[in-house]
Amino acid sequence: MERLAAQLGRAVQGKPEEVRRVVTCVVAGGHLLLEDMPGVGKTTLAEALARACALSFSRIQFTADLLPADILGAQVFHAQTATFSFRPGPLFRQLVLADELNRAPPRTQSALLEGMAQGQVSLDGQTHPLPSPFTVVATQNPVDFSGTYPLPDSQLDRFLVRLSLGHPAPDVEARLLTTRGAASPLPSVEAVTGPEELASLRDFAQDVKLDAAVADYVVRLARATREHGDLERGASTRAVLALGSAARAQALWEGRDFVTPGDVRSMLVPCWAHRVLLRSAVQGVSARDEAAHLVDEIARKVAAPR
């Protein structure tokens, strides 16, 4: 994991914390939602991830006219044999970058989301399993809402972690200017792990011990969000499970085979901030910050096990 992070760090400089989250999310076997303004390295990060893990990679640029068949693939008629055969779409890759997910119509979004949730694609009554490991890194632009179809909450729930990269620090930005210029950093990223190794990492993460006290802590946190006055909807059971697996991956990152409350705390905001629904009708960046702030505040009020 350290090596993976080091490689990602080459591509996305000055963001060790975010890179760590990304690796954690991948090890936890979850999908990642990057939500940020354009030009801060979302796509670069995803591509670097694919390279470092030696995963098959495809990038789908979501647009308003994108159809489900464009991502899933289609039945193609072979004239010679007079049969239909399935031609897999770009989704059939181990790492899929869904760029600007919220620009596609809901139908296309849900086609992607079915794949994310089930690990398979249903087409014309046939199910086609997706490759393993299968990870989606989706990006969203929270600023420009015109002509977008915001993801419904139920679909946001499918993403394990939502991250925003933010602008790099001034010195990092200056270094970028001087050393790299316009050249892509991606060629410098080396493959340090393979799909098999990633799968075994995921197995390790699943075996990380979660003490009853910590489990109780997670449940208490969930209940606190459900009972909070400013939240329309609190954390779902899927959110509880997601936090558990994220915390497990985080513990593995720390080199431990058990989860501590600190692991839970550190994964809490990225895991849950996009899953709770605010009562106030604010949208966009402020809503995101507000939710993160609220979840953080709730975590402060719920006593961690000692």
């Binding site: 011990k209 910590v214 431990r256 501590t260 600190g262 006593a303 096990p305 000692r306």
Partner: protein, 688 residues
């Protein structure tokens, strides 16, 4: 094999000791058994398991003891229950001293249970109950610790403290629940087989004897145990009662011993000794186990006695009473304690001619022993100097005896003729000597007299009077023509009541009061008592007799019923809340307690810390800041997290080691900080 937990073994042995104590309080176990068990207990508590290596030899020894006990049993020298109890005690002792494995533990607890059961058969009084509760508590703790010990893997420390606290609370709750059960649920009388000793301080002291035999030391006078409690109506209201409680009279003296010519007579529910007068003193009397005899006692002169109830461990039942010679009335049922009613004539009442006397008894009033010392008669004549009026003569003789003779309880040897020994040799004796002398001196002068025995005095207690074994007394009844028997006491007045030490008496009075309350409210507490308590609570108040008749009586329960219900509801509510909170709280774990200590250390050293910042967060933050404490904190935090959430408990002594490291680091940090300001202050100080 795992080394057994020492605390558990100590608890086990103490539980066995409590069980043994439950039998020992009856005072019926033979001394060698007591000694053997106590020795074994001391050795076991010191951890010296002597017979661990000689298990077979000690088992053989037990077999020998069993044979010896069997022989004692068949020869009738020992009771079967006592023998069984003694053997159980010895087995427990042997088990306590053998290798402390699981089998020995189980057998020790089992024999302890047997001993408790044996104790129930031997005695059922307060001290037994205390032993029983002690045994229950200690044995529960020991057994529970055993379970915990078995569950902890080898090499891991047993979390004794973490277990003991909830365990103790649970046991306390169980005891409280047992008490509540005891008070609230309908009670059954417990019928136990076996030779029950008298409750209280062991065997009865026979404060009242069946015959009067002169000679021997009067040790009874120093005995402060309470034998009788009485409520008088009308209540004289005095602090110390100046009255004679008569049990029986004697008419025949053979030179050594007093007895009666007439034996047992009719049995009835109630015996009338004398015709009643207008003003009778009613006495509700309770004879306590220390009394030990079955003769009814009443104030002089008794008119009617009866309505007796015998209180035995198997329950209370009414006892018919039997009239015997000398005006003695006896219970026909044998029991440790009795209650009955008696009516007596007031002291100044004229009883008419001595009633109820048969001719044989009447004839005996002047009888003298066959070999009476002639000096007795001479002495009487010399003192009386022709006084013939019976009462005046008796008083004259009594004052002569009180003046010229000393009171003593020390009587060495048994003289051949105790009377002349008292009158002419020692010139000192106790109440029986004085009373016998007066009676015989009167008889030599042709004045009818007899010896009366019973108790003198009565100390105020709880609105009634109590009489002690040491108040046992003897005096003289003089037959006065036209008046009947009149009491004349030849014993010096200051020596009539109990002669025990005041301090001991007070102490004993306290014990007796507690014991009586125990017996009334615990041992004899029955369904009827529960019912009466409940009905007394809800019964509407009795209307005063002078209240206007037209006022309709309220059907509602009185305010005290509501108040009690409110109090009970409050207690139940509090208890429920306490229990729910208790069960809701997670037990403090070893790692958590370790964390508490770390927190306390950090706080003492003023390590900057945010509110609600966990140790994990603190260590992460300090590591980011490059704080020097991190070196000590990081391994400690890691071990804490492992112990708390990772399932790898702290090893024995590890917590102390980690804390010591932290302490050193904190000290070094404090020293570093102390040096820095001093170095900074140096130049400024010089500059100024």
């Amino acid at each position: 094999m795992k080394r057994p937990l020492r605390l558990r073994l100590i608890l086990r042995d103490l539980a066995a000791a409590a069980a043994f104590g439950a039998m020992a309080v009856s005072g019926q176990l033979p001394l060698p058994v007591l000694g053997a068990f106590l020795g074994a207990l001391v050795l076991a508590l010191c951890g010296l398991r002597l017979v661990a290596r000689h298990a077979r030899l000690s088992a053989l020894g037990l077999l020998v003891v069993a044979v010896l006990l069997g022989l004692q049993l068949t020869s009738g020298a020992m009771n079967a229950v006592v023998a069984a109890c003694s053997f159980a005690g010895l087995i427990a002792a042997q088990r306590m001293l053998s290798t402390p494995d699981a089998a020995a533990d189980g057998q020790t607890h089992l024999t302890s249970l047997l001993m408790v059961a044996g104790g129930a058969a031997l005695s059922g009084d307060m001290t037994y109950a205390l032993c029983l509760i002690t045994f229950g508590v200690l044995a529960s703790l020991s057994l529970a610790l055993g379970v915990v010990e078995a569950a902890v893997p080898d090499g891991e420390p047993v979390p004794v403290r973490a277990v003991m606290r909830p365990l103790s609370a649970g046991v306390a709750f169980a005891v409280a629940g047992a008490v509540a059960f005891f008070v609230l649920f309908p009670r059954l009388n417990w019928a136990m087989v076996g030779p029950r000793s008298a409750p209280g301080l062991g065997a009865s002291s026979a404060g009242y004897s069946n015959t009067v035999r002169l000679g021997g030391a009067g040790t009874i006078k120093g005995n402060p145990r309470v034998v009788l409690r009485a409520t008088l109506t009308p209540d004289p209201g005095l602090d110390a009662l100046d009255a004679y409680w008569v049990g029986r009279t004697y008419d025949t003296f053979d030179g050594m011993e007093w007895s009666n010519v007439v034996g047992a007579q009719q049995i009835e529910r109630q015996i009338t000794l004398r015709p009643a007068s207008d003003t009778l003193i009613h006495q509700r009397v309770e004879l306590l186990p220390a009394y030990g005899a079955s003769t009814l006692i009443a104030l002089e002169m008794p008119s009617r006695l009866g309505n007796a109830r015998a209180h035995s461990p198997t329950g209370t039942r009414s006892s018919p009473v039997q009239l015997r010679g000398g005006g003695e009335v006896r219970f026909t049922v044998t029991a440790p304690s009795y209650t009955y009613e008696a009516y007596s004539l007031p002291p100044d009442a004229k009883a008419g001619l001595a009633p109820g006397l048969v001719q044989a008894e009447r004839d005996q009033l002047l009888a003298l022993p066959e070999h009476l010392d002639p000096r007795v008669s001479e002495l009487a004549a010399r003192v009386l100097q022709g006084e013939k009026e019976p009462l005046a003569a008796a008083r004259k003789l009594a004052s002569f005896l009180q003046k010229d003779y000393a009171y003593t309880l020390e009587q060495e040897g048994i003289p051949e003729d105790p009377l002349s020994d008292f009158l002419f040799v020692r010139k000192a004796g106790h109440c029986e000597h004085f009373a016998t002398a007066l009676t015989l001196l009167l008889r030599t002068q042709g004045i009818g007299a007899r010896l009366a025995t019973g108790f003198y005095g009565g100390a105020r207690m709880d609105g009634g009077y109590l009489v002690r074994a040491g108040d046992a007394h003897a005096w003289t009844h003089v037959l006065v023509p036209g008046r009947g028997f009149v009491t004349v006491d030849a014993t010096p007045p200051s020596n009539r009541t109990s002669q025990g030490s005041v301090y001991l008496e007070k102490l004993l009075a306290l014990y007796e009061a507690v014991e009586a309350r125990w017996r009334n409210s615990v041992v004899d507490y029955s369904f009827r008592d529960q019912f009466e308590l409940a009905s007394a609570l809800v019964r509407p108040p009795r209307r005063p007799r002078d209240a206007p008749a037209n006022e309709a009586p309220s059907r509602l329960p009185p305010p005290r019923a509501w108040a009690t219900a409110a109090i009970v509801a409050f207690i139940v509510w509090r208890a429920a809340r306490f229990v729910s909170r208790w069960t809701g709280r997670a037990p403090a774990l070893a790692a958590t307690r370790f964390l508490d200590r770390v927190d306390a250390l950090l706080q003492k050293a003023h390590v900057p810390r945010f509110e609600h910042e966990s140790l994990e967060d603190l260590t992460t933050r300090l590591a980011r800041e490059g704080h020097p404490l991190v070196l000590a904190l990081t391994p400690l935090t890691r071990r804490y997290l492992e112990a708390r959430f990772g399932g790898r408990a702290l090893r024995e002594g590890e917590a102390e080691h980690l804390l010591a490291t932290l302490r050193r680091a904190l000290d070094a940090e404090a020293a570093r900080r102390a040096v820095k300001p001093a170095g900074q202050a140096g130049p400024t100080a010089r500059a100024s």
